[in-house]
């Protein structure tokens, strides 16, 4: 059985090809103003990687993400909440809580034993704790996203970043830089403040282990460590690129539909 999933997020588009329960092709590309073209393009790259000649060779395709509606080559669209839960759970079957930190929003999903969504909480009110926020901070620090993420860059004496609004947090960071604060302490301070925000959201839904992060920001080792400490759990690493969890979930659902029809 061979199926595909495409996740059109705010910051990136992802495509995944799964064959007989394995991921055989993936592609991640930055979002553009042309979602349909982008969807086709990431799908094409993933297909190539999988050694599949064309999209017609896929038995089913499901779309997810903000851009999921109106993708003609998808037989249906499923919310990214359901897909992230499914994809992450497939990667780690003992997973019961997923914290997804995307480009523009972040969410916490509580998962059932079967990988279905029990409850979820979203922050889509503001940029705090999202990719956009980290981009702004990275600019202010001049260190790039990798700089914020690297474990060796997490200072031992993290600053307290108290501002809840990301815009103000950015100016708070600028002030600290101007005062000559050790950048590594700013970095760890930022990661801790985001972790606190995520913890508040997580508590709404109830944190049950195993816990993992998905989405682009989950590559931030500093954030992962801070969050683990905040939640007092051992945050698992997803065995695949955490950014593709949604697309994997979509592909899995595509396969479930096929089995149901059979």
């Amino acid at each position: 059985m061979i199926a595909g999933g495409v996740d059109l997020g705010s910051a990136t588009a992802k495509a995944v090809i799964m064959k007989d329960g394995d991921v055989v092709g993936t592609c991640i590309a930055p979002s553009s103003g042309h979602p349909l073209e982008l969807a086709k393009s990431v799908m094409a790259t993933a297909l190539e990687q999988a050694g599949v000649p064309s999209i017609d060779h896929l038995e089913n395709v499901v779309s997810t993400g903000y851009g999921r509606l109106n993708i003609p080559f998808a037989s249906e669209n499923v919310s990214e909440i359901t897909c992230h839960a499914k994809g992450a759970h497939w990667m780690i079957p003992t997973l019961r809580t997923v914290i997804d930190i995307g480009g523009q929003d972040c969410k916490v999903i509580s998962i059932s034993d079967e990988g279905a969504v029990r409850e979820f909480a979203m922050n889509d009110r503001c940029a705090a704790g999202t990719g956009r926020f980290f981009e702004g901070i990275a600019r202010g620090l001049g260190c790039g996203l990798e700089g914020i993420s690297a474990l060796e860059n997490q200072g031992e004496e993290p600053c307290t970043i108290t501002n809840q609004c990301s815009v103000f947090a950015e100016s708070e960071v600028v002030t600290l830089v101007n005062e000559g604060t050790d950048i590594r302490n700013i970095i760890s301070g930022i990661n801790i403040s985001v972790a606190k925000r995520l913890r508040a959201m997580a508590r709404r839904v109830g944190v049950v282990e195993d816990v993992a992060l998905s989405g682009g920001c989950s590559k931030n080792q500093g954030l992962v460590t801070a969050l683990g400490e905040m939640l007092n759990v051992s945050v698992r690493d997803l065995p695949h690129d955490p950014q593709i969890a949604g697309a994997v979930g979509a592909a899995l659902i595509a396969m479930e539909r096929l089995r149901a029809e059979a």
Binding site: T162, N163, Q164, F168, A200, M201, R203, R204
Partner: protein
């Protein structure tokens, strides 16, 4: 069988200890104003103690909100505590912010006033001692009646008899009579729920005592007109309102505290002493004073900029005598106290409540700047800022809009607030 202590009682015991320590420490000071602040802490310790003892002795006590005619509970020998008094009395900040964050985890959106959120957290987690009865207020804002509904709904307090007098809106006889009737109903409710009797003569005694307190408070306010202002925000309305409405309503100990306050302040005025070393700016803080976290920037304002908060909503309590010779006037008088309560005076009815006092206050207290904190939770105040701004413009007084959280210091940081004050004073040519 060992009965586990109610977590609310445990907390109250801890807080009682904290205030006792504060008092003990303050008495080491040479400054009579500091000792007086410490005396306040002693009264708060006793306020907590009254609940602890009632609980231990199996006697009834009441949970209330502010301005629920506390003279009634005093007259009925019912110890009482206010749901959110922890924040008001400056109990520890950390548990306060834990409470606020806790409500976010409970699914309550973060745009609700932090004071109310912390109260909801305490109620919903069984952290307040279970009273025999609870009375509340449904003013001045939307949030307060919602808190009362949480209390009514709460599993911890579901069985506790509940009564809220229905509030008036306009400052007229109809509103006053309506609310006076509601206060009467509240008294009857308390009698029934606690099996205590309200003796009218006793009530008159208590009210006479509270009249003395309010009269002394008025004297204190008049002393604050002096230049330099003899006391800063540390000995201001939060303590006065605390004593008169929460901690010692109609009680002799409270009156004695007020007398000392007047004596100490008179002495300062006689010697031309101010609350700050060099007074440069006199501020009308257009809300209740900010909570514990704000001590930092308020002290900074006084010390660095010579800016003293001379008047604020808590301190502003226009004195009106309750005529105890007439029974009808007793209830009307108690009702009138609602109209004059901090924040309720401004926010209960139409926007006029916010601006009517302004001309008089500006003149009497020689105010240089009106500072508008813009508390995030205070929705009806937010909707009145345009009217207040224009009134200040018409009255020719500079108006500073800050934008902060009165209780949660993480919303806008102290540094940002200091910055705004500095730049503002420079801009209007005060500094």
């Amino acid at each position: 069988m060992v009965e586990t202590e109610h977590p609310g009682i445990t907390r109250f015991k801890e807080q009682r200890g904290q205030f006792q320590d504060l008092h003990a420490f303050s008495q080491l000071s040479d400054d009579p104003s500091i000792r007086l602040a410490g005396d306040f802490a002693k009264l708060v310790a006793e306020y907590r103690d009254a609940i602890v003892r009632a609980s231990e002795e199996g006697e009834p006590f009441v949970a209330n909100n502010y301005c629920t005619a506390p003279e009634l509970t005093t007259a009925m020998d019912l110890p009482a505590f206010t749901f959110w008094d922890g924040a008001y009395l400056h109990v520890d900040e950390e548990s306060f912010t834990d409470g606020i964050d806790g409500t976010a985890a409970m699914g309550i959106s973060t745009d609700l006033c932090t004071l109310l959120r912390s109260a909801i957290y305490l109620v919903e987690n069984g952290l307040l001692p279970t009273p025999a009865a609870t009375v509340g207020i449904l003013s001045p804002c939307d949030g307060m009646p919602m808190l009362q509904q949480v209390v009514k709904h709460s599993k911890h307090w579901g069985h506790v008899p509940w009564f809220c007098p229905d509030p008036p809106y306009f400052r007229d006889d109809r509103g006053l009579d309506y609310f006076a009737h509601e206060v009467r109903k509240m008294a009857a409710f308390l009698e029934q729920a606690t099996s205590r009797t309200l003796d009218l003569d006793r009530l008159k005694e208590v009210i006479d005592e509270s009249n003395r307190q309010y009269l002394l408070w008025q004297e204190y306010n008049e002393l604050k007109r002096a230049v330099p202002c003899p006391q800063g925000v540390a000995l201001g309305g939060m303590k006065c309102a605390g004593i008169a409405q929460m901690v010692n309503p109609g009680m002799r100990a409270g009156t004695e505290w007020f007398q000392k306050l007047v004596d100490v302040t008179e002495e300062k005025v006689a010697n031309g002493l101010g609350g700050t070393k060099q007074e440069k700016v006199r501020i009308y803080w257009f809300d209740i004073p900010a909570g514990l976290w704000a001590a930092d920037f308020l002290t900074w304002l006084e010390e660095e900029l010579g800016a003293v908060v001379v008047m604020d909503f808590s301190t502003l309590y226009p004195y009106s005598l309750i005529d105890t010779s007439d029974e009808k006037e007793i209830w009307r008088g108690l009702a009138r106290r609602l109209y004059d309560s901090p924040m309720i005076r401004q926010g209960l009815g139409p926007a006029d409540g916010f601006v009517n006092d302004l001309p008089r206050i500006l003149k009497d207290y020689k105010i240089d700047v009106v500072a508008w904190p813009g508390h995030m939770g205070h929705k009806e105040a937010q909707a009145t800022v345009g009217i207040v701004r224009e009134t200040c413009r018409d009255l020719g007084v500079p108006f500073l809009e800050i934008g902060m959280d009165l209780f949660d210091g993480r919303y806008t940081m102290a540094d940002q607030i200091k910055d705004r004050f500095s730049r503002f004073f420079q801009a209007v040519g005060i500094q």
